[in-house]
Amino acid sequence: MNLYREHIMDHYKNPRNRGTLPNADMTIEESNPVCGDKLKLMYKLDGDRVNEVKFEGEGCAISLAAASMLTEMIEGKTLEELKAIRDEDMLKQIGVPLSPTRVKCGLLALSGLRKGLKQDNLAGYGNS
């Protein structure tokens, strides 16, 4: 089984939604110091729905391709739907079986999103 199938290489080389989002409603940084991977995930909301999403960062092909895929997964979704994304959903998108050491790379962006959602909740409580 080739880990670096076209699907992954496509997202790695032609990342979707790569860039920055000024005045984002949510900005979160996530990293894996073990391999030096760093991601920044941002989105703007329209009501409770993700209107625009961007990511930037550096890292291995798996973590960057997964981040690109995740932005496609969450665009147009509600915050509740974002919270419901499971590890399996992300791994299914990646589509190739990852070895235990590489699963971390595949889930880095999703782990960032979860942190961001918690941060978002806190901000929400603060505002009310």
């Binding site: 880990l3 496509d10 030096g36 890292g59 291995c60 070895s99």
Partner: protein, 411 residues
């Protein structure tokens, strides 16, 4: 000169196929594969001679004790120690360094005392000192690494002034650089400092002579030396023993115990509390016998040849950057490198698909990687059974990875 192709038959794991390809094992610097003789010796010990070491009066116990102590003799001879009493068995090099930090460092270093480390240390020779420094209020100084990947001796001498302890690796596990340990210990002793040398990468690659190196403590792991996991070595000697407090305490490290008082056994027993990994010590001795039969001078010569070939092959690939000295004689058998546009983890995954096992990451040397300006590198490391064919397969596989990453993808 060794015949690595012939030696391959001594290592049963080399018949494994990985992703339906023959195994090309290039991660010996992380851990070495095991010769049959070692595996059989451990099995034989458990099946025929196993008993409580140093505790029983019966035949099996006495046989096991004899074999365990003979292993200590083998280790002492292998590294040119004066006697087997200088050898303490530990779990690995990491535990040996922790032992020194705890048993000597804690009782001999005081607030404001300085320890000299280097920028090329493995985390094993950093973290125990970070923890001790925090606890005791010690100063940590880091001797620099030059752009050529060597220890900056001018900087080292500057930082040595007034220091109480020097902790230095004999060989860098990232750069492969061999440090001038004999010179370092001479300078340190003149300055009144003690010296701990991390020999984890040196012991499998270089002939060692403790009398020549004169380090106060020399440590290494058995598993990198073709021996089993769970066994390591700390070498020190009488004048230093006197200043060391017990580390782990408990059974068999005592002389006499009353209700609330204790006198300790003589070293090395003082530092071997509890039931020790006897089969592992015996396995290590057999791995050392294996190396002795090959001859450490021949091992060194072979690894030099492979390293030279690897440096030549890898630097011929466009986009490959090699870290450390470009001269094989400055190094042991390991080469760290990066490939433009491919994260080392991606490279290692792609190589694995071809059955090629290399290390990728920071190799437990993050400060050195910060200095090199990269979060991670790939590392190929060699052993007695590494052939030039292995290096050719590595090069072919790197080129295939470059192709995978450079091919345009259909949108």
């Amino acid at each position: 000169m060794l015949d690595p192709a012939k030696l391959r038959a001594d290592f049963p794991i080399l018949t494994r196929r990985i992703h339906d390809k023959p195994l090309t094992y290039l991660d010996s610097a992380a851990t070495a594969q095991k010769p049959s003789a070692m595996l059989e010796a451990m099995d034989h010990f458990y099946r025929n001679h196993y008993g409580s070491v140093r505790r029983g009066i019966y035949t099996l116990s006495e046989e096991a004790t004899g074999m365990y102590e003979a292993a200590r003799e083998t280790v002492a001879e292998f590294i040119g120690a004066d006697s087997s009493e200088e050898i303490v068995f530990t779990k690995n090099a990491t535990e040996a360094i922790n032992l020194v930090a705890y048993s000597w460092g804690r009782s001999n270093l005081r607030k404001g005392d300085a320890i000299v480390l280097t920028e090329m240390e493995h985390h094993a020779n950093l973290i125990p000192w970070y923890i001790l420094a925090k606890e005791k209020g010690l100063e940590l100084r880091f001797a620099k690494v030059t752009d050529g990947g060597r220890l900056d001796m001018m900087d080292f001498e500057k930082k040595l002034k007034g220091a109480k302890l020097v902790c230095v690796t004999h060989v860098s596990n990232v750069l492969g650089t061999i440090n001038p340990v004999a010179e370092i210990t001479k300078l340190a002793h003149e300055a009144g400092a003690k010296v701990l040398v991390d020999g984890a990468q040196a012991a499998p690659n270089l002939p060692l002579d403790m009398c020549e190196l004169e380090a106060d403590w020399y440590v290494f792991s058995g598993h990198k030396l073709y021996g089993p996991t769970g066994i390591g070595v700390l070498r020190t000697h009488a004048p230093v023993y006197e200043a060391m407090q017990p580390f782990l305490s408990g059974g068999e490290m005592i002389n006499e115990v009353g209700l609330g008082d204790v006198t300790f056994a003589e070293p090395p027993a003082t530092f071997e509390a509890g039931t020790m990994p006897a089969a592992e010590a015996i396995g290590l001795a057999v791995a050392i016998d294996y190396l002795n039969k090959l001859g450490m001078d021949s091992v060194r010569e072979h690894e030099q040849a492979v390293t030279e070939y690897a440096l030549e092959k890898l630097s011929a690939i466009e986009g490959v950057k090699i870290y450390g000295s470009k001269k094989a004689e400055d190094r042991v058998g390991l080469v760290s490198f990066t490939v433009d546009g491919i994260h080392p983890h991606d490279l290692a995954s792609l190589l694995d698909q071809d059955g090629v096992a290399i290390r990728s990451g920071h190799h437990c040397a993050q400060p050195l990687h910060q200095k090199l300006g990269v979060p991670a590198t790939a590392r190929a490391s060699f052993s007695v059974f590494t052939t030039t064919d292995d290096i050719d397969r590595l090069a072919t596989s790197i080129k295939a990875a470059q192709k995978t990453f450079s091919e345009p993808v259909k949108a």
